[in-house]
Symmetry: C2
Subunit: 595 residues, 2 copies
Amino acid sequence: MKRTHYCGVLRDEHIGSRVVLKGWVQRKRNLGGLIFVDLRDREGIAQIVFDTAVSQEAFDLAETLRGEFVIEVEGVVRLRESINTTIPTGRIEVFADQLVVINESEIPPIHVQDDDDAGERLRLKYRYLDLRKPKMQQKLRLRSKVTQVVRNFLEQEGFIDFETPMLTKPTPEGARDYLVPSRVNPGKFYALPQSPQLFKQILMVSGFDKYYQITKCFRDEDLRADRQPEFTQIDIEMSFVEPEDVMEVNERMLAKVFEETLGVRPALPFPRLSFDEAMTRYGSDKPDTRYELELVYLNEIVADCGFKVFTDAVSKEGDVRGINLKGASDHISRKEIDKLGEFVKTYGAKGLAWIRLTAEGINSPIAKFFTEDQMAALLEKMQGEMGDILVFVADKPQVVFDSLGALRQEVAKKLNLIPKDVYNFLWVTDFPLFEYDEETGRFVAKHHPFTSPRDEDIELLGSDPGAARAKAYDIVLNGFEIGGGSIRIHKPEVQRKMFRALGFSDEKAQEKFGFLLEAFKYGTPPHGGIAFGLDRLVMLITGSDNIREVIAFPKTQNASCLMSEAPSWVDEDQLEELSVQVKLTEAVVAEETEV
Amino acid sequence: MKRTHYCGVLRDEHIGSRVVLKGWVQRKRNLGGLIFVDLRDREGIAQIVFDTAVSQEAFDLAETLRGEFVIEVEGVVRLRESINTTIPTGRIEVFADQLVVINESEIPPIHVQDDDDAGERLRLKYRYLDLRKPKMQQKLRLRSKVTQVVRNFLEQEGFIDFETPMLTKPTPEGARDYLVPSRVNPGKFYALPQSPQLFKQILMVSGFDKYYQITKCFRDEDLRADRQPEFTQIDIEMSFVEPEDVMEVNERMLAKVFEETLGVRPALPFPRLSFDEAMTRYGSDKPDTRYELELVYLNEIVADCGFKVFTDAVSKEGDVRGINLKGASDHISRKEIDKLGEFVKTYGAKGLAWIRLTAEGINSPIAKFFTEDQMAALLEKMQGEMGDILVFVADKPQVVFDSLGALRQEVAKKLNLIPKDVYNFLWVTDFPLFEYDEETGRFVAKHHPFTSPRDEDIELLGSDPGAARAKAYDIVLNGFEIGGGSIRIHKPEVQRKMFRALGFSDEKAQEKFGFLLEAFKYGTPPHGGIAFGLDRLVMLITGSDNIREVIAFPKTQNASCLMSEAPSWVDEDQLEELSVQVKLTEAVVAEETEV
């Protein structure tokens, strides 16, 4: 028989109808001479009743059902005697007169229910069962919904969906490339793309004007920090645009996504914060603005105090900054303040100075280093009131930002300052073009080498790269960077200056990006774009803890799939055909021997 | 200034408006003291006029313009004096008072125009210029439109868009796998997916009920026959379905695609032909039904004739089949018949027998072997009339089908029998489950090892595999297989029987497909699906000659990208990190030395 309805859609209006349902046995109970089966499909659960008065045969067969059997039932929908208000189909049940066991199931190794407490490794090994859980079904369907909304929006805006190659050219020294040996070009390799960056720029050179693609990208890096070897990017590029044009269309896109998935309508336009302001106020270029806890700059206030840690920092081009943990005095003990001191040390700070403002007065190990006036000025600047705890870090600016930026988050969680169901978007703009890499003593691109400097900063590329700012913008949601982009360089001579500032020789630039440089000779329009991390975006929309929750078949921290057991060994013959062989380094051999 | 319009959209209604256009200089002419520039963007061309009476400055700058310069113009739209009816903007022109040269261009190595005659290698090397051609722009935009229509249709039908992994498990002896060494699992490899087959089946095991994905697949095979190392598949899977359910939704999808891209409304349902009927009538399992030229079975008619080639074939379990080349006598010379004889030999036939029915009577080298009655019977069976040429092949059935199937196509082209703008879809069903591989003396799966036999044929898996038919269906358009699918096996014991029939040991089956077999234990629904080759579909919709025309950045026959120069050599260090090294086989070394 053909299925007439999904289980989960049955309502009062179906009462009296004959239905054919197909699905999985969630549970079976014998009660008062009847058999009740909760039948599950992707839309939900329907209660099936087997009654000997309706069909002895179906009843007898129903006796044999166990969890996760696949069955087909036919029967009549009736109003339940005892309504279950906790599920949408709770007012009805189906009195079955026909039952077919379509497929049986062994006892499943994990429970197909949301409150199953199986560990993640077991869940990943039996992902097909894990994905049967209503919560997981909902997450992956929401993911599909997100891409659908994105596509419809972009297509309405005139963007064209392109596919760029997966088998691309390796970048020399491309430490993060996944390589693919070529059989027909023995000894040569493809690289899986880290992003479609060069190809989307080429498509702008081709005059397509508005490009988008939702595509897999690959990065072979350590998988701490919730990363995956393959991840999905919403990739966008536009010609003849300024940063504001890109931001405008993309914030409308995000607003649409949130409206159509969560029913949330973020206010437009999103706030814009310069990189400097983001750092100064939040110690982070991806600030979570759902709570206050802003940083306060104190160099002038503490310059003359007697606390050497502060005055040293001020005199050595460092910073002293503080955060007022408003009203935290009752919630954070002395011991917990010490823990926060340990916490900021992991970000390179030497320690955390603090002042507790209690009913009994100022309680602080550093109070003695301040005159009464100095302390008054400090409290005023920090807007300190009774019940507050003021905390301070004095160090090199980056250390101060990193440690206080992280401290904000830590304290916000501890004090439950983070409101639920609030989505704070913001753009961070005016990034520096370069970062100075202390290890190599060279400038490296803060975003990538195709990012355009601001027009007035082009001259700085030769003279003072560190001061040059970029036409770059990141989009931040609740403290997560969910996307980032820039206007790209479109003039060959600016691109050459950029490569030189990065210390690339002309030959190396040619080797790395020759075809882009060649393309730039033939009439390249100004262009720019953005890329969103889809996995992270969906993680935030679904309120998940990590991106593995919103990827159907994710890999573990050591880049393995526990279900399919990829990667795996392959035959010698196969490798020979590809003109490669395995050669373990001594380090690997030693490690494997040890194990 | 912000662009106000695309060039190609300007019409009468814009006359009098001030517009800002941005685009590429298609050509420049000085005429009667004015400068005319054809300005091109993705929507088309607008004529810009520079007049010293409007702006001397703009006029002087316009003098410096050359082809493919990127410019910005501002001016007023006016009615042209001499209308150009060949382009949509031909009634208007823009009198420019402002001109900015945004970027210059060297002389491009290929002409950016549809009738450019650059060879394909040059076109691929300068793909960014090639893609500027209106024809190429239109093809790739149509490709985007196709996927858009497919997605919208499938989402409306309740299908969920999934992403399955790109880094998957290699199949043992997976000769067509592209392999990817794993850095964190030294000595192990991922494979790029040949299709998402196993994962989509797993998603059915997970209960998602309706899956789709438009995704890249990879096959490392020789690239003759218009193939690409990476190609795009529209991949679909459904649970609780029979073949007819899958065909029904997919033919509606295709009809929608053709309606929304070409304005063509194919009649539904599409014809269904069994594999046997397709072979018998057309000698092909992907027949082009836009023309007749059907095969005629002649064994009974010729069994007693005196022509040994025919009678031998009949007595040795071979076939004699003919095609009536209706009215071809005036168009196909004796010499051309001989050529057709050579043609069928490339398909294994020993020769082509023929009868020409002319005004002067029967003209044929084989006529003498037939009695008058036999000849009359033959002509009647073949519906031979004056002006026809009858051709015959006698051989093993497969040879007869292959050679006459190919001959149909060849003759249809030669005789211009193929109508333009006709789209003949049909389903071919009831394929044999296996093919017998003469080389290895074993049965191999005609589709793949997860294809379900017809219920009544399950028993044949053990006793007579060659007779078992599959719940498989291919979709054919104008002689091209554009998609194929099947109902899958969903019972572990049937899957085991299938593997045994294929000669896999239980261990090998476990090694190859262990996780699918494991998944089948826990309640697998009946399921089936289909996969379309998007590249080929778009090739047919755009009337292109090969799939490279509808792929933005295709690879050549030796799997190289001429633009980016992928694949390429990589550093030793990079390989060492991946625990592999290049090892050319002796054959490769010898070949390279020779070159």
